[in-house]
Symmetry: C2
Amino acid sequence: MSLRFTEEYPEINGAFSFEVTRVLYTARSPFQKIEIVETTHLGKVLLLDDLVMFTEKDEFVYHEMISHVPLFVHPEPKRILVVGGGDGGTVRECLRHDTVERIDLVEIDEMVSQACIQYVPSLAGKLLSDKVNCRFLDAVEYVRKTSETYDVILIDSTDPVSVGEGLFTREFYRNCFNCLTDHGVLVAQSESPAWAPELVQSISRKLRAVFPNVHFYQAHIPTYPSGHWAFAFASKTLHPLKDYQEERYRNAGLSFKYYNSDLHFGAFALPTFFRELVDAV
Amino acid sequence: MSLRFTEEYPEINGAFSFEVTRVLYTARSPFQKIEIVETTHLGKVLLLDDLVMFTEKDEFVYHEMISHVPLFVHPEPKRILVVGGGDGGTVRECLRHDTVERIDLVEIDEMVSQACIQYVPSLAGKLLSDKVNCRFLDAVEYVRKTSETYDVILIDSTDPVSVGEGLFTREFYRNCFNCLTDHGVLVAQSESPAWAPELVQSISRKLRAVFPNVHFYQAHIPTYPSGHWAFAFASKTLHPLKDYQEERYRNAGLSFKYYNSDLHFGAFALPTFFRELVDAV
């Protein structure tokens, strides 16, 4: 028997599928269906409600790009809020920065983190770090009520359906803005400009209603729909290129599989159709 | 009944599929199986031996990027050789440059061009232009024997299997080099750095054995395997960024859906793993 996982791509009446060698974990949490499977070529894969959240093969792209772009723009990122991100990949990348003193992870579904800690420690292992404070709560509520402030907020959410929906509203962005320090930066995963242009445009519109500076950047993530993925960079004062901390990047001596100094700039050079989508709002 | 096309992605034991509303054309040429189908969301799609060659939805990315990057680096591209490219998309983009006086298209399979002219005139219509000279020949033979010279050669080939195989050899690149004028530039579609790294590396190695300057760039093409696509820029003297013809770009007054001046630079900013792949040869 050969097992196969298929993700539907309704945006194009299409689908993406791959062979599964073993189902490592399967459960229904109060929020969603959670599965971790092993594959022949993509490593372990986390599926939430039948959508690929990460594959070990290309998770480095997403996690490096959501983290290092803002962390090499903020002059001294000490306190980070990760919204969602229960798999731990974003936390793992943030902890590579010496400046980081504490990361609050606000994830609604504790079972995702527990499963990833057990089955994919390469991603989730760092959730157990002393610098990381996991709060298994609804982030919508959390940012409305907290008195904590953050230098950087990373919205590492699922798609804007069911459990992730509240993380794509103007009110949520406003509350994030209010939790940011004076030179605070927010980065949000922002879906596919190629196959979900209206969604990317709506994220742009809502962020621009709240933040004075909004810029989009992109990355190649083969196992996400279309492989063309957008991130929004929104800030109170900082510019993603003019305020780039070149020297801190060089001195950090870190090596990345996707991110580098040239790529930081290149990622903000958008194709015309994408630029028109996010600027014309 | 619902029709569905499936492209196998053997690189990852995976597949990509989409709904087909109508089969417009199907034939077996002496070289390959040719099909043109209509879809709900991707427009018309050309399939050669069950691989997607273009979809109307995203062909603009590939055709703009293979053409305008070299044509805005060469100071005065007059004579162009397109190798393969029987669907006409690359010719269509090249003809937008006023400097271009003549394009020789050397395509092995006349039936591909005939089918595209009939069923997808938005791509192939320009094959009938007075400036275009279609030669339905094996390009491997052609570049070995011709006494013509070209300012720009664009290798718009299928994958390096069966009919396309000879277009990925050192000997072929050497013969192309010999057909180029003093400041000639060659660009070759170069497969996926994410899912076919050995192939991209081998293209790099072979081109570097022939050309003094070789640089890679990339684009997002959702309906190609992994969506992360490489192009090689190889030249006798010109540098893809230092020799960029900014002024000609501005004066041309052309509008593109993917390509623009910033993106020209951004496309050469490679992810670390891709850079290491093509530089370490």
